[in-house]
């Protein structure tokens, strides 16, 4: 066990965990930020996507000791009132079925749009194919990303 200071959603957080603990479980178990989801534990499904220094990363394979003091954003920190353009677009296109993967999809989409404000279908496929949606809402996710790019 060791003590780490994390910079999560603009706040300093102190946690006392094993250095190998993946960021995912620190968020979920220690910090009560359960919007970041567990899906595979192998960075294969994208349900655990968060931003580290603004880039989309898979928190399930990221040891907490590797992210000390670096800015981390989770779905809970994306906006104060759930009104980030990507969140608004997700509601506008009524994307969700079960909804479990959607926080991860949204975090990947936000990272994509930050670097590419007007992505093509191919750009979206490339950036999003690491995020599985078992309910297969892919057509709506694509639409929502395009809607968000105009907001």
């Amino acid at each position: 066990m060791a003590s780490f200071t994390l910079n999560i959603n603009g706040e300093k957080k102190q946690v006392d965990v094993d250095p190998n603990t993946p960021l995912l479980w620190v968020l979920r178990d220690n910090l009560n930020l359960v919007g970041t989801k567990y899906g595979c534990g192998l960075s294969q499904c994208g349900a655990c996507t968060v931003h580290l220094n603004g880039a989309a990363v898979r928190s399930c394979v990221l040891p907490v000791s590797a992210v000390i003091n670096q800015p981390i954003t989770t779905i809970e920190g994306l906006s104060e009132n759930g009104d980030h353009p990507v969140q608004k677009a997700w509601l506008e296109e009524d994307v969700s079925q079960c909804g479990y993967c959607q926080p991860g999809q949204i975090m990947s989409a936000v990272a994509l749009l930050k670097n590419n404000s007007n992505p093509t279908d191919e750009d979206i496929d490339l950036a999003m194919s690491g995020n599985i949606c078992r309910c297969a809402t892919y057509v709506r996710i694509k639409k929502a990303i395009k809607t968000a790019s105009k907001l």
Binding site: M1, V17, D18, N20, T21, W25, R28, D29, N30, N32, L33, V34, G35, T36, K37, Y38, G39, C40, G41, L42, Q44, C45, A47, T74, I75, E76, L78, S79, G82, Q87, W90, L91, D94, V95, S96, Q97, C98, G99, Y100, C101, Q102, P103, D121, I124, D125, L126, M128, S129, G130, N131, I132, C133, R134, C135, A136, T137, Y138, V139, R140, K142
Partner: protein, 733 residues
């Protein structure tokens, strides 16, 4: 106007049950602990006082209405569509409504509280309409009494009651307190579909705002102070059982509270019939990572209790039992043997599909807090009532002392119909004497079983010299149960017809997977029909329509299980919408139609080849599910199952060696992703006033057939064996 009875037997349909205590049904609202559950943008303000009207409805003094959604929410969006039906008959504006998940209380809801077989809307249609209409009636009665007039002189609409020949009006919120406990007449009038204001519109997922902001909604998100997290380890192969493990070593690990073998054997078969692993190792700790880490240190003695199977064995068994297996169900019309002997052309093709897992994105989990004579369970279940009975039986605690609370589910697809994960959580909590949340890893989940069975079917068709279909047979077998529906299409449409459903055996555990049996049979049958149409030199849609004409005008044999007019109707609609056969647009398009869960779906898929790799470009889909409740939600459901059908048929399989799935996580198991998904899907509904039927599953099966037929157009290869990608790699190089 429909008149409907409000009593079943001697019991009133809608009295608030005694179990609810003080007449109030407590919604399950742990999810947003401190904040109000009520979204900000509502047409009315937050009430100070609430009044219980019936099991579904409470009305606040401002006119805000809470509607309890009775059924489990697995992503089929019943939390939006079911309350829409209540709100329609109550006649309240949708922006006055907030929705909460109802508690398990079938006495009060008078509606089976389960999610399966695409049944929620179909079975809920009457109880939900009655609940709304009864609520409205009570408000009218209360107003009539207050004003000293007859109910006949009042009208209710949009949350306001008005005097028909007068100027008085009163809002639901103002009269609700007086409506509490009023009797409902034995019969009530329901609205005519033409008067619907809400049903048939598009309303957004009521939990959308919580989903996109990452609020705790799912079983895996649930927490209770003082609870342990429990990881499990089940045997690594079907046919193995746990004997012993390095218990002391595990218990000594940092953060580990206890480790033991737990037995969750439950003798009743319903939703528990193929659980292969009633004994598990449980490891309890403070955090998820600690127990997952401890799992990696397990050294276990497993013992073999039955044969360890392989995919090769499965194939051999299917081939053998397709011929020699026991016929479980059959139908025979005319004289198929003689007709095949006389036929000018005979076509025979064999189709197969592998075992596949459900792979809900949220792995199996459940919270349990077992006390001496009571237990509380919280988690994702499609069958809360069966879970209550099972846990009661396992713990030997009376049913009424077992509380089952439903969380939103990270996918179902049939997987959470089964009871084992709730039973396991209960057994673990009992043994450790503390509240626990049991969590499966993806590997635990993907290797536990409950898979879609592996199937093999052989289809045979005979054409006469005029290219008429004069003989048809299908024989199918599965591990363990076969996929054939003897009374479905083309039963009734062919003079000489034979259908045989056969069983085989396996110790791999299987279960209901989206559109059970149909998920394979539709693809096989509809690709076969396509090949037969081609041999008969007929357009594939016209060929099918000819068969439906026969089933309508000159049906063969005993009653068949579909309505041929509605079946033909969706084909005609999809033909029109996809511009089928116009110009060269038929190139690379495949069609299929299927009937299951009482709904009719026809699909046209267009495939393009990009650098020799096929990709679905566009999908057109026509649906007849009767009245559509929530158009956008329904469309979402149809789109999802189409992509799901395409994805599993194209990419997914589980192979077995030494009794174990060799695919254990998404690194080796292929599931359809963004870049493989269709670019566009258009959905069209047949407009009618037939009572609504299932939508959670029926668009998956025909998507498989349409895909196979479109791939044939694009590549020249007929696809017989799932996953198609394997066969295509061989033919496309």
């Amino acid at each position: 106007m429909t008149v409907i009875k409000t009593k079943i037997g001697r019991r009133s349909f809608l009295k608030i049950s005694a179990a609810a205590g003080g007449g109030i049904l407590i919604g399950f609202n742990w999810l947003v602990s401190c904040k109000s559950l009520i979204p900000e943008q509502k047409g009315v303000s937050i009430p100070k006082e609430w009044f219980d009207i019936n099991g579904y409805i409470k009305i606040g003094d401002t006119g805000m209405v809470t509607i309890y959604s009775p059924n489990p929410e697995i992503g089929q969006n019943v939390m939006t569509s079911m309350p829409m039906i209540v709100a329609e008959e109550l006649d309240v504006p949708w922006d006055h409504v907030v929705v909460e998940q109802g508690a398990l209380d079938e006495d009060s809801f008078k509606n089976p509280q389960f999610a399966g077989g695409s049944n929620s809307i179909k079975l809920g249609w009457d109880p939900l309409r009655v609940a709304g209409a009864a609520g409205k009636r009570m408000l009218l009665e209360a107003t009539a009494k207050k004003w000293g007039v007859s109910v006949k002189n009042l009208s209710a609409s949009n949350g306001v009651i008005k005097e028909v020949n007068g100027s008085r009006k009163i809002s639901y919120g103002q009269i609700a307190s007086k409506a509490v406990g009023l009797d409902v007449p034995d019969e009530l009038s329901l609205k005519d579909p033409k008067d619907y204001k809400l049903i048939g519109t598009s309303q957004k997922n009521v939990e959308g705002p919580k989903i996109v902001t990452g609020k705790p909604l799912y079983g895996l998100d649930f927490k209770r102070d003082g609870m342990f997290v429990a990881a499990i380890e089940h045997p690594p192969a079907f046919g193995m059982k746990v004997k012993s493990f390095n218990k002391e070593e595990i218990k000594d690990m940092k953060g580990i509270h206890d480790a033991f073998i737990v037995d969750s054997t439950y003798s009743k078969k319903k939703w528990n019939n193929t659980n292969a692993f009633p004994q598990l190792i449980a490891i309890l700790g403070k955090t998820t990572w600690q127990v997952i880490s401890a799992k990696k240190m397990l050294r276990v003695n497993w013992e073999n209790v039955s044969e360890l199977e392989t995919s090769e064995m499965h194939e051999e068994r299917l081939i053998k039992d397709l011929e020699k297996g026991k016929v479980e169900e059959s139908r025979k019309d005319g004289n198929p043997d003689a007709a095949f002997a006389k036929a000018v052309k005979v076509i025979e093709r064999t189709y197969t599909s592998p075992f596949i897992p459900h792979n809900t994105m949220e792995p199996m989990n459940f919270f349990a807090d077992v006390k001496e004579n009571s237990a509380e369970l919280v988690g994702p279940t499609q069958t809360p009532k069966a879970m209550q009975e099972a846990v009661s039986s396992l713990l030997n605690i009376p049913k009424e002392n077992i509380s089952i609370k439903m969380t939103r589910m990270g996918g179902g697809f049939g997987r959470r119909l089964y009871l084992h994960f709730g039973l396991e959580a209960a057994a673990i909590s009992k043994k450790v004497g503390a509240p626990i949340k049991m969590v499966y890893t993806r590997e635990d989940d993907m290797t536990q079983g409950t898979y879609r069975p592996a199937y093999r079917s052989v289809y045979k068709a005979g054409l006469d010299k005029n290219n008429n279909l004069v003989a048809f047979s299908v024989k199918g077998v599965g591990l363990p149960d076969g996929p054939v529906f003897p009374n479905r299409f083309p039963a009734g449409a062919v003079d000489n017809y034979l259908a045989e459903n056969k069983s085989s055996f396996t110790n791999i555990s299987t279960g209901a997977w989206t559109a059970p049996k149909s998920n394979f049979t539709a693809g096989a049958e509809q690709s076969f029909i396509d090949e037969v149409a081609e041999a008969a030199k007929k357009d594939p849609i016209d060929f099918r329509l000819e068969l439906f004409d026969k089933a309508i005008n000159n049906p063969v044999g005993e009653k068949y299980s579909y309505e041929a007019e509605r079946y033909a109707g969706v084909l005609k609609l999809v033909k029109e919408k996809s511009n089928w056969g116009i110009g060269d647009s038929i190139l690379n398009k495949g069609v299929a139609a299927y009937f299951c869960h009482d709904s009719y779906v026809a699909v046209v898929i267009e495939v393009v080849l990009n650098e020799n790799q096929p990709k679905v470009k566009k999908v057109w889909c026509a649906v007849d599910c009767g009245i559509v409740i929530n158009k956008e939600g329904a469309t979402n459901m149809i789109e999802g199952r189409i992509i799901d059908g395409i994805g599993h048929a194209m990419y997914s399989e589980l192979k077995f060696d030494n009794g174990s799935s060799i695919h254990k996580n998404f690194d080796t198991y292929n599931f359809i992703r963004h870049n493989q998904s269709p670019s566009e899907i258009e959905v069209f509904f047949v407009q009618n006033e037939i009572s609504p039927t299932g939508l959670g599953e029926p668009s998956l099966p025909p998507a498989v057939g349409a895909l196979a037929n479109a791939l044939y157009k694009a590549t020249g290869s007929r696809l017989y064996h799932q996953p198609f990608v394997k066969q295509l790699q061989m033919s496309l190089g």
